[in-house]
Amino acid sequence: MARKVPEINSSSQADIAFLLLCFFLMTTSMDVDYGITRRLPPPVEQNDEDVKVKERNVMNVLVNKNDRLLVNGRPSDISLLKDEAKRFMTPRPNDETAPETEKKTFDLVGEVLMSKGVISLQNDRGTSYAMYISVQNELARAFNELREEMSMAKFHKHLDQLTEDQTKAINDAVPVRVSEAEPVVYGTN
């Protein structure tokens, strides 16, 4: 006659499961990282000739070691930088002092007037990282606003409602033209 196997008491199963749950609840970190994504330029050859860019096509942004801004030789402030950059990058074909413009045709958006302007960013080795990020952010904001305007004009939709192809077309029509100068060592800090 088969012996009756006593049934295992499973009432503590819930407690064990709760213990495990508490462990994973505490160790989990669902924080998502956000940041400004950039592409570094490939290293330059020493004997490479400098590409000549017309002066009216360049907006020079300098940040010194005291986190002060100099935009085209004039002192400026971080709160003004976005509007200055936006004004500079907005194509104005009839303005002699503004960057040159050219007409280009893209899929979906058609013919657009593009500015040949480049924003050149140079910082000192003593610039604080917070200031550097602020400058990068304000420049990115200027370009994003231009993209938003183009998106509203061409598709009558906000930038974040566009399809993938439309976003790509806008990004091509309004490229982020920020060039970081090669680091220069002025003596020792």
Binding site: D33, R39, G126, S128, I133
Partner: protein, 155 residues
């Protein structure tokens, strides 16, 4: 109609708890899958600056982080240092480290590798520039300045 009214006190039936473990197990599996345990012990402070024009860092498996900031251990001074994995490093070590990070991913993913720079906001740009120059030399062009969400004007 009193005809249908039951006689005697109504008893509330006991709620069955036999499915409780199953529910809890489901939660466990959820957390087990989403959990990612901190893989490095931070030796430097990384209070990151704020920015608003930010993108989400997709695919965490393809991101390797470089931490730069003043050491947590006050004995080591306040000058910003670079941390790769679990140890302090010099800018010259970055080339080898990138190579190691590339080797640990499968071949198809290697060009998509992003380097996240997690830098303390009071760090001077000199050391960050050195790191960026090293990254350029080894062809790790995709970088991400990891920041917090907020207005950059508050930095």
């Amino acid at each position: 109609m009193g005809k249908f009214r039951k006689e005697g006190k109504k008893e509330v039936p006991q709620v069955s708890t036999s499915s409780l473990p199953d529910i809890v197990y489901m939660l466990i599996f959820f957390f087990m899958i989403t959990t990612s345990m901190r893989d490095v012990e931070l030796k430097v402070k990384t209070a990151m600056p704020k920015a608003s024009e930010i993108q989400k860092l997709e695919k965490k498996a393809l991101v390797s982080s470089i931490y730069i900031g003043p050491p947590r251990d006050a004995k080591l001074g306040t000058e910003s240092r670079i941390q790769l994995d679990d140890a302090f490093a010099r800018p010259a070590d970055i080339a080898d480290w990138i190579q190691k990070e590339r080797d640990s991913r499968n071949e198809a993913d290697r060009p998509l590798l992003t380097t996240a720079l997690k830098v303390h906001k009071e760090t001077r740009m000199g050391i960050v520039t050195d790191v960026k120059q090293e990254l350029r030399k080894v062809g790790a062009f995709r970088i991400n300045y990891t920041t917090l969400k907020g207005s950059a004007l508050e930095n």
